[in-house]
Subunit: 190 residues, 2 copies
């Protein structure tokens, strides 16, 4: 079968473009430590030979439509949202996370209200255009994934502080009370 | 890899519990005609030997969290929503469909507003508890699926008219202007 064209694989092992500098478990079960991470389009089979098996894990996620952002918010976000892959953005952070069953059983308006009260969009806006971000959804893939989301951030070294402030603010919100798994992996490009 | 526990496969071939009585393409490309349909939990490989290959197709989808229903709507729906598998519900209808790229590029509030203006929830309420329904999402699976959704309905023969009215009403809404693929397969249990 043909893979979803919006699917990305995150491969943790001893190889890959991104060198891991720090791997922190904020909530839940840790991911095995890895030396490097590679991001590839499409699906990657563990037993395919193309992935080094030792200490390796593979997370997968698809980019998808917006779930909470309103039209007004989107029109402010779009003009200043940078793409991944900027040459100066040699720092990357990958944050695999899951939200609780309680979160997922909430109705759409309840989740949107928590998102809005938490100022998620405004906090993200403050970090633009410094911080590039791509959100991947894992929860509705064909496979049972360990995490609900993988968010991938890229920025230039001088914006490390902006990124740290962003995550510190998000983690103190009401929305984050529903996060029950969160791992943060900091990398640099080599 | 372990499959998503919310994944279902819909197998069209010459075998299966549900006998196809009518297969209609309302919009887009037809699905090959089949004699019978089987619904199974989990993923099914085409080349696995367990699926008759002749004229067979397999659609897949996952049940997931609500995307548009509000808390108030949900509290009215939940007490009267029947489950699939009622012994008297010998009629089933499967509706694979897709929405346009324009729909998916709309912000959440724009999609919700169209859903609300179309009275989607109220129309569905009118068909309860006669019509059981399970919605499966295909768009964010690992594989590239032909459809965005597969909806599966079950009802007793005397509620055929209620079902026909429901679909007639839905198809005349603003929301349905964004539907660009729709196939309807009517079945009876044997």
């Amino acid at each position: 079968m043909i893979g979803n064209p919006r699917l990305f694989s995150f491969i943790g092992s001893r190889q890959g473009r991104w060198r891991v500098n720090a791997q922190t478990t904020l909530k839940g079960t840790p991911l095995p430590n890895v030396e490097r991470i590679d991001v590839r389009r499409g699906s990657v089979e563990h037993d395919h030979g193309s992935v080094p098996v030792e200490n390796a894990w593979i997370l997968q996620g698809v980019t998808s439509n917006e779930r909470y952002v309103t039209s007004a918010e989107k029109s402010r976000l779009l003009p200043i949202q940078p793409n991944l892959g900027r040459s100066e953005a040699t720092c990357a952070v990958m944050i695999p996370m899951s939200k609780s069953e309680q979160w997922w059983s909430l109705a759409q308006d309840e989740r949107r209200n928590i998102f809005a009260r938490s100022g998620h969009n405004e906090l993200g806006m403050k970090a633009l255009p410094a911080i590039a971000r791509r959100l991947h959804h894992c929860r509705d893939l064909s496979t049972a994934e360990r995490f609900d989301f993988v968010t991938w951030f890229e920025f230039a070294p001088e914006h490390q502080y902006t990124f740290d402030r962003l995550m510190e603010s998000l983690r103190s919100t009401e929305e984050w009370e529903y996060v029950d798994q969160e791992v943060e992996i900091r990398m640099t490009s080599t």
